[in-house]
C-alpha cells in the first residue's frame, strides 16, 4: 500500500548537493517517508541553469532566504562549508522547516551514539559508541568519529577523516579529507583542519591548521612548480 511521501528539498545545488541527492536516493524506501523533490539555492536562476545542463529533472523551488516551507516539506542541508551550512539551515528551521536525517544504508551508528537533527551520513561512514553528534553534521564516505567524542553542530567531516576517541570538535568545524584528530584533542568552533593533517592536542577557535602535525597556517600555499 503506497504511503504518502513527504517532499525532501536539498539545500544547495553544487557537486556536493548532487552527491547528497544520490545518497538520499540510496536510502531504502522502507526507511524513509520522503522522496527527493527539489532544491533550494541562493542563486535560483544560476542553479536552474546548472541543473538543466546536467540533465537533473528535479526543480529549484526557491531561494533559501525566502522559501516558505509547506507542511509536507522536509529538508537536508548539503552545503560543505560549516558556516554557510549552519546559516542556511537555521534560516529554513526558523521558518518551521523540518530536517530529516539522510543516512546511507551502509553507514554504521552505534546504538549508544546520540545523533542530532538533519545529519547526513554517506556510504561506509560511522559513529562510534557514546559519541554525541550535533545538528546538521555531515559525515562523508569512509569517515567518522569513534567512541566518546563530541561533535558540534554543523561540523563537516570529509572523506576518510578520523576523529579518534574522547575528542571534542566545536561548532562548525571543517575536518578535511584524511584529517585525523588524536584521542582527547580539542578543535575549537569554526576551525578548519586541512586535508591530510593530524591534530595532536588543541586547535583554537577559528584557526586554520595544516600538516603533520597540524600547525596554524599563516600563509596560503602559492601555485609553484608548474608556474615556473
Amino acid at each position: 500500500m503506497p504511503r504518502p511521501k513527504r517532499r525532501l528539498f536539498i539545500i544547495g545545488t553544487d557537486g556536493a548537493a548532487r552527491e547528497i541527492l544520490w545518497t538520499a536516493t540510496q536510502v531504502p524506501l522502507d526507511d524513509r517517508d520522503w522522496e527527493p523533490a527539489g532544491f533550494l539555492a541562493d542563486d535560483v536562476d544560476g542553479a536552474r541553469g546548472e541543473l538543466a545542463r546536467r540533465g537533473i529533472a528535479l526543480p529549484v523551488v526557491g531561494a533559501v532566504a525566502d522559501y516558505a516551507p509547506a507542511s509536507d516539506d522536509v529538508f537536508t542541508c548539503a552545503i560543505v562549508d560549516p558556516r554557510a551550512k549552519l546559516e542556511a539551515a537555521e534560516i529554513v528551521r526558523a521558518r518551521g522547516g523540518a530536517f530529516v536525517p539522510v543516512i546511507h544504508p551502509t553507514a554504521l551508528v552505534h546504538e549508544t551514539a546520540v545523533v542530532g537533527t538533519g545529519v547526513i551520513m554517506r556510504h561506509y561512514s560511522g559513529i562510534g559508541p557514546n559519541t554525541v553528534v550535533g545538528d546538521f553534521v555531515t559525515i562523508c564516505q569512509s569517515a567518522g568519529p569513534s567512541h566518546d567524542n563530541v561533535v558540534g553542530d554543523g561540523c563537516t567531516i570529509a572523506p576518510h577523516a578520523d576523529v579518534m576517541g574522547n575528542a571534542r570538535l566545536g561548532r562548525g568545524v571543517l575536518l578535511g579529507n584524511h584529517g585525523v584528530v588524536l584521542p582527547g584533542a580539542t578543535v575549537g568552533d569554526f576551525a578548519v583542519v586541512g586535508a591530510g593533517s593530524v591534530v595532536l592536542r588543541r586547535v583554537p577557535p577559528g584557526a586554520t591548521v595544516f600538516g603533520v602535525p597540524a600547525r596554524r597556517l599563516d600563509f596560503v600555499p602559492v601555485r609553484e612548480e608548474v608556474a615556473r
Binding site: G15, E19, H178, A195
Partner: protein
C-alpha cells in the same frame, strides 16, 4: 544462445590475484564473462607463484604470443602504469576487448563514466559526472569526487581522494591516502607519495611528497 565470454587476466602477480578477487566478487548476473585463466610472459614463474598462493586457475600462455579469440575478454593486471597502458593498447590493436571491473561494494554514481580496462576496487567511490579513463586502477576505498577527471593509466592507491573537479593526468601514480584538493592538477606520469596532500599543481614526471606535497629529488 551465446556461450559466456572467457576472461583472461594479464599478469599473475599479486595485483593479478587482487583482480581475480574482484572478478570473483562480481555476481554472475552482472558480468557476461567467466574467469578462464591468466597470461604471463614468465609462464613457469607464474604457474609456481599461483600454485603457492593456492590459485586454481591456469596460466594459459604468454601475453606477447597471445592471439585474442572472439570469445575472450581481457583485463590487464600489471601494476606499472606505463607497462599497463602499453600492453592494454597493444592488445586492443590486436582486436582484444578489455573489460571494466567494478567491485559490488563500490559506490559509482550513475552519471560517472568509466573507461575500458579500469578497475574500481572494494568500497571505492566515483562521484557524479566524474570521469575515469582507460586502464585506471582504483585501490580499496579510493574516491574520485564529482566532476573530477582521472586520465588513462592512473594508479590510485588505497583510500586516495581526488576531490571535486581535480584532474589527474595520464599515468600518474598516487600512493595510499593521498588527497588531491578540489580543482588541483596532478601532471602526467608524476608520483605522489603515500599520505601526501596536493594543494598546488604537481608537475609532470616529478615526484612529490608531504602535507602539503612538495617536489622531491632533482
Amino acid at each position: 544462445m551465446t556461450s559466456p565470454l572467457r576472461l583472461l587476466i594479464l599478469g599473475a602477480s599479486g595485483f593479478g590475484r587482487e583482480v581475480l578477487w574482484v572478478a570473483d566478487a562480481i555476481p554472475a548476473s552482472a558480468r557476461p564473462w567467466r574467469m578462464a585463466g591468466f597470461l604471463d610472459d614468465d609462464v613457469d614463474g607464474a604457474r609456481a607463484s599461483l600454485a603457492a598462493a593456492g590459485v586454481v586457475h591456469p596460466v594459459l600462455g604468454s601475453i606477447r604470443d597471445h592471439v585474442p579469440a572472439p570469445d575472450e575478454v581481457f583485463f590487464c593486471a600489471i601494476g606499472g602504469s606505463a607497462t599497463r597502458l602499453r600492453v592494454s593498447a597493444a592488445l586492443a590493436d590486436r582486436g582484444a576487448r578489455l573489460v571494466t571491473m567494478v567491485h559490488p561494494s563500490a559506490q559509482v554514481h550513475p552519471d560517472a563514466v568509466i573507461g575500458d580496462g579500469t578497475i574500481v576496487g572494494p568500497l571505492c567511490t566515483v562521484g557524479s559526472a566524474a570521469r575515469l579513463g582507460r586502464a585506471v586502477v582504483m585501490n580499496a576505498s579510493a574516491g574520485v569526487g564529482p566532476d573530477a577527471v582521472v586520465e588513462d593509466g592512473v594508479f590510485l592507491g588505497s583510500r586516495c581522494d581526488v576531490m571535486p573537479g581535480a584532474i589527474v593526468e595520464t599515468g600518474a601514480f598516487l600512493g595510499a591516502h593521498v588527497t588531491v584538493h578540489p580543482r588541483a592538477r596532478v601532471g602526467a606520469r608524476s608520483i605522489v607519495g603515500i599520505g601526501s596532500t596536493v594543494v598546488a599543481p604537481v608537475a609532470a614526471e616529478r615526484t612529490y611528497l608531504g602535507v602539503p606535497a612538495r617536489a622531491v629529488g632533482v
